[in-house]
Amino acid sequence: MSSNAITVPGIPVEGKTWIETLHEWVTTVDHKRLGILYILYGLGFLVVGGVEALIIRIQLMHSHNDFVSPQVFNRLFTMHGTTMIFFMVMPVLFGFANYLVPLMIGARDMAFPRLNAFSFWLSAFGGLLLYFSFLGGSGLYGAGNAPDVGWWAYAPLGARAFSPGHSTDYWTLSTLVSGFGSIGTAINIIATIICMRCPGMKLGRMPLQVWLYLVMAGMVLIAITPLSAAQIMLLVDRYLGGHFFDTQAGGSAVLWMHFFWIFGHPEVYVLVIPAFGFVSEIIPVFSRKPIFGYPVMVAASVGIGFLSLSVWAHHMFTVGMNSYANSFFAITTMAVGIPTGIKIFNWIGTMWGGRIQFKLPMLFCLGFLFQFLIAGLTGIIQASVPVDWQLSLSYFVVAHFHYVIVGGILFATFGAFYYWYPKITGRMLNETLGKWHFWLLLIGFHLTFDVMHIPGLLGMPRRIYTYEPGRGWDTLNLIVSIGALIQAVAILIFVWNLIISYFKGAKAGNDPWDAWTLEWSTSSPPPAYNFATVPVVASARPLWDLKHPEDPDSQYE
């Protein structure tokens, strides 16, 4: 705990040496500081994973390119996937959870501040461990360095016979360790939301963001545990002579696939559900209307949470399950589209009849709506099992899930950055740079990921370090790579904006967006204790009630 309890991030206190400041940040248990640490850590890995993606795209610019060797390429896509899922998107979303949940429910901190710090440092250690593989991965065998088994490490590729050395162990251990961190944070989020709400904050009055974090945390608990179990079983196979996944000794490769995807698919929803939260907070404020159908939105979120636990084997339609299993996972997968569709309609309903202001957070959320619509529809296409026999494992799938993660989750998360940056730092992000960031990212994104669907339809499988000429893939891949470079420029502008606005941005004030949730009632950045007096709320929009005493929401409850 810091020696000075009312120190706030962003406001340097005179007379403190840098080593004291560093010590305070490293030992902090303040949810806001841990949130910022999580976010910065995730942004660091966004740059690292992005550089890996760029090298991949340079290699694939034309057929028979020789920019990197197949070994390096295989490491790159393994590291890119693992980094972006485990060490970029998850930390950033957990960071916003840490920062926002207590503020939104009128609490002074998370339920377990020390567990919170412990979880963050576990996750951070996991990321460092993964990248330490570049130094330590070859072990005594001299085979490989970074893991090269793909982010899902299908058995038996991860067995000792096919993956000597320690590179796969680094992958296993780093995701295992960060997985424990995620479980800790999930427990913390659930306990905080259940136990720490301010007086009057009934479950039905929580901001949707908090609801969605509750669903997300519940899913983390259910989804991460099978992955952790599978990782431990893999380690038993590799070092204690087990045969769970060792097919040469009668183990089952399909078992690993089930273990991985019963984690892997809910994981996608773990990532997208907080993004739904961002959109559900931002669209109402910039449409100047409450969210349309709050109870239905809550029900749809919980519904997605449950349904998404029953769809995992749609990643395995080509593995040779029988036709009944294939049918089951087809219908559950299509069924997830129903609550997701309800959400999209409710966001449109929120904008309907509003006064939409095209500020930066709203622009990114509109990008999210269009792109998530397409991502959802290409998902439905692939849920149709025979169609998936053609599309699965091809570049169509790569385009589809990048549409979800970049076009959906990342766009919503950028919206969240523009929306809450003023609260976190006390300063506004630069509008001009933000517009450049938005438009360049939008153009780059569509160049890359719209076009990427086509090579998949023309028979290009994923994870190939090079391809044959004369199949009609060259020009398309060149366009995809050019789009990736444009996106990289957009990300650089964003990072520059984060830095320059921290020092030179306009002062934000407490409530720059004229918003309605509790975090905007305290100062920007908030003091260590968040609220001088614990707030009391009477509706889902406490600040609306305060600003409109003649027509408060509480009147209609």
């Binding site: 490769a253 939409i356 699965s392």
Partner: protein, 336 residues
């Protein structure tokens, strides 16, 4: 309007379908499984395309219609909290759409996956290896590698080919987009797929499941022959290797080096199964699972320095002397 780009993509790919040239286009089916998939795809694409148009229009309309007229506008719009009727409508309609999509899917799924095998079907066992394909014709006693030969199937009297899919090491996936969807080759988990090509010709594809370093150069070539050509090809493959005395020196090199640990040549001591069967090496148009054409130059390079053709392949560099190499090349040339 940028999102129409995606629909445009689908249409471009569909338009690029040219049945005449060998390709890997899922929109140019040449066999019943691929064709049923295309029909189902067209239906699913139409339904999702309609959903896209409706929701896209709603989005664009609400964004352009309800934009704030001026920044100075102070009053808040009417605060609407929801509507049960509308919520019900946009719950029930998607439920109906899902039911329809699922029915269409289940029908094709069952028809393709549970199709009974006719008695006159050709059986081929496909075994995935790091990074090449082994083909065995159990009814015909033929073992070959990398280039699959199957007979064309007359729609009036179908002679489909049924593939039994096995793996010798890691997971692989067999994918010839114009003939059928892909099915994985998973160790300890035999799978099955079938195809009944309508036209003769060469069909391309490649391994679709990441299987290790050279996943990218594990290419597939399927030659669809007329029944007569297929029978002729089978007869040639059934013969043991020719024993030509003029190339006895090269044969000795083959039989006394590590070649025989991995490769088999019928009628010699070589019976290795780790690498492709070479009994009729010269009947194939490519080597190294399609990574190079089967010319004397590339074959020589492949034996001396496989890394130059396929980095990370499991073929070792053989380090032969010039004279041994020449003799061996002469011998391999006779394996027709």
């Amino acid at each position: 309007m940028y999102s129409f780009a995606l629909l445009f993509c689908f249409m471009t790919a569909a338009a690029a379908a040219d049945p005449a040239s060998p390709g890997t286009n899922v929109f140019a089916p040449q066999s019943t499984p691929a064709r049923s998939i295309l029909h189902l795809s067209t239906f699913v694409l139409t339904v999702t395309g309609l959903i896209f148009v409706v929701v896209f229009t709603l989005l664009v309309y609400s964004i352009s219609k309800f934009r704030a007229k001026s920044a100075a506008e102070n009053s808040e719009p009417a605060q609407v909290y929801g509507s049960t009727q509308i919520e019900l409508a946009w719950t029930i309609i998607p439920v109906l759409i899902v039911v329809v999509l699922f029915m269409a899917t289940a029908r094709v799924l069952h028809a393709m996956q549970d199709a009974p095998e006719p008695t006159n079907a050709i059986d081929v066992t496909v075994i995935g290896h790091q990074f090449w394909w082994e083909y065995r014709y159990p009814q015909l006693g033929v073992v070959t590698a990398n280039e699959l030969h199957i007979p064309v199937s007359d729609p009036a009297h179908p002679t489909p080919t049924f593939l039994q899919l096995l793996s010798a090491d890691t997971d692989h996936s067999f994918w010839i987009p114009e003939l059928a969807g892909k099915t994985d080759l998973v160790p300890n988990h035999p799978n099955r797929m079938w195809m009944d090509p309508e036209h003769t010709g060469t069909f391309l594809g490649q391994c679709a499941q990441y299987c290790g370093t050279q996943h990218a150069k594990m290419l597939l070539r399927v030659s669809v022959d007329t029944p007569a050509d297929f029978a002729e090809w089978i007869r040639e493959q059934q013969r043991p290797a020719v024993a030509d005395e003029r190339v006895a020196a090269g044969r000795r090199v083959f039989e006394t080096t590590a070649c025989i640990n991995c490769h088999a040549i019928n009628g010699t001591v070589a019976s290795g199964r780790f690498g492709p069967d070479l009994t009729h090496l010269m009947s194939r148009s490519t080597i190294a699972a399609g990574a190079a054409p089967n010319t004397p130059e590339s074959l020589r390079l492949w034996i001396q320095n496989p890394e130059a053709i396929k980095r990370g392949s499991l073929m070792p560099a053989m380090q032969l002397s010039k004279s041994d190499m020449d003799a061996l090349m002469d011998y391999l040339e006779t394996l027709r």
